[in-house]
Amino acid sequence: MNKVLAISLNTFKESVRDKVLLSLSALGLFLIAISKIVVPISIGQANKIIKDLGLGLVELFSLLIIILIGTRILYQEIERKTIYSIVSKPVKDWEFVFGKSLGLYILIILIQLILFLIFIIFNKFYLGKIDWYLLNALYFFIFEFLFLNAIAVFFSCFTTPITAGILTLLVFFMGQLTHYLKDLVVLLKLPELNAIANFLYFVLPNFSVFNVKASVVYHIPISINSYFLAASYSILYSIILLSLSSMFYSIKEYL
């Protein structure tokens, strides 16, 4: 565990200096800060729109960071040849993969916390009060991005960062619609496809589990089950993906 933490700390320190990451964070911060500009054109719905905008921006920028950076963290080690000094040490493949993932994940959570904090503070300025219920969204974001990070790392094991980024983005989009798969089968009246649809429904990542933005803005109560589901689904799936990634690394060669 010590080795995992050592690698994650190193990855954290390295990624914190990444220009792309800093630019994205700055941009996210900037946009949240200027969200006030929607007030005059919101036709009385400034409250809702500013909240939607803030939540959307936090999620969008975290997604961008994962796609642009999460897909490179392993690839970079190989490209820069710093991996030689790691693989030749008594470090197991899973320790390396988990360590790298964890380092970036911690950084993303930190950025989300900062963006969220700014978001809440600006809420107070623009809307007069802090809506603490919004913090529920942060809980779900934390697990959503644990999952996405694992997906990005998984794809980056066997393809280039750009392709991995595109695939991750695709999975994110499709993951919002997996719950439609079952409906589709009924709609098309093709019971033969039921087995395939069921299989896809279970295998494909289901991101609607983490999408509580509407509930949070409208103060609709979120069931306790949802909290457990988000956490357990995310953790289990991520461990599986990272373990598969470790397997890739165990057979990888470094020319």
Partner: protein, 302 residues
């Protein structure tokens, strides 16, 4: 009983492109033993398979066939705990400084190495003064040194160095060679590859010459090179009458100093005696055996 730290038998490494049927043999049936406590030099032309061999030993590459045993066949993770590796043209995390880098690698050995020991290692490689300098500001020589330091950090029994002297200036090379000998005298086994034959000749006990993925020649230096003296260079001063010296060998007159090369051991002994009798002074006597370079070139062309 000599303990074999590394035992390689019939190692084969094939590179095959998935789209082309063409197969390239990186290593084609290599045998190699490295004994405990020795400094073993791996020589070969570019593309011979030196780096490939070292990478297979350190686990960066997988062999296609053949056997590679470390310390009799222990588990790879256990072997890596006892091993330190310096890759060719090494690259390290640019955002860290020397000390942070060693702390990081130390933790990868599963050890929390004390600050004192780390500073000692940095001092050993001559980087103590640059302790807070970022790796991004390191010169090539400093990178080699920190590379050596990270290979030493786990106090390994075996050091594997791929072209450790590459890119260093003569002072740097001398210092690193001394370092290698120093750690070896402390009981560490060293396996290193190099192009610089004179360096290999200077510090290795045994050498192996790899040509096209096969070990062409392996053994103790003194055994590989012909032990017969091929010629002797004598540096003479204080002789006015020089013509008679030509009888004993090839002469080069540089005014005050005369260089004489004799091919015969018997003639050498006699001419030395005569020079002394005639009042001349012997400045130096240098017997020349076959150099490693000459041997190496001969092997390559065979």
């Amino acid at each position: 009983m000599e303990i074999k730290v590394i035992e390689i038998k019939n190692l084969v490494k094939i590179y095959s492109s998935p789209f082309m049927r063409k197969k390239t043999y990186g290593i084609n049936g290599l045998d190699l033993d490295v004994l405990q406590g020795e400094i073993f030099g791996l020589l070969g032309p570019n593309g011979a398979g030196k780096t490939t061999t070292l990478k297979i030993i350190t686990g960066l590459l997988n062999p296609t066939s053949g056997s590679v045993k470390l310390w009799g066949g222990i588990d790879m993770i256990q072997a890596k705990k006892k091993m330190g590796f310096l890759p060719e043209n090494p690259s390290f995390y640019r955002h860290l400084n020397g000390l942070e880098l060693l702390i990081f690698y130390g933790r990868l050995y599963g050890k929390n190495i004390g600050l004192e020991d780390l500073e000692k290692t940095l001092d050993l490689v001559g980087l103590k003064k640059e302790i807070t300098k970022r790796i991004s500001n390191y010169s090539k020589g400093m990178i080699q040194r920190i590379g050596f330091a990270q290979a030493l950090i786990g106090d390994p029994d075996l050091l594997i160095l791929d072209e450790p002297l590459g890119g260093l200036d003569p002072i740097g090379r001398k210092e690193l060679k001394d370092l290698i000998q120093k750690v070896n005298s402390g009981g560490k086994t060293v396996l290193f590859s190099s192009h610089i034959l004179s360096d290999v000749e200077a510090i290795c006990n045994r050498v192996g010459i790899i040509i096209e993925g096969k070990m062409k020649n392996i053994g103790y230096l003194r055994e590989i090179l012909k032990t017969d003296i091929r010629y002797t260079d004598i540096e003479i001063a204080g002789i006015k009458d020089k013509e008679w010296l030509k009888e004993y060998g090839k002469m080069r007159d540089e005014g005050d100093i005369i260089f004489l090369r004799t091919l015969d051991e018997v003639k050498k002994d006699r001419v030395i005696k005569l020079i002394t009798e005639k009042g001349g002074r012997i400045i130096s006597v240098a017997p020349q055996r076959e150099s490693l370079e000459e041997h190496f070139l001969k092997t390559v062309h065979e």
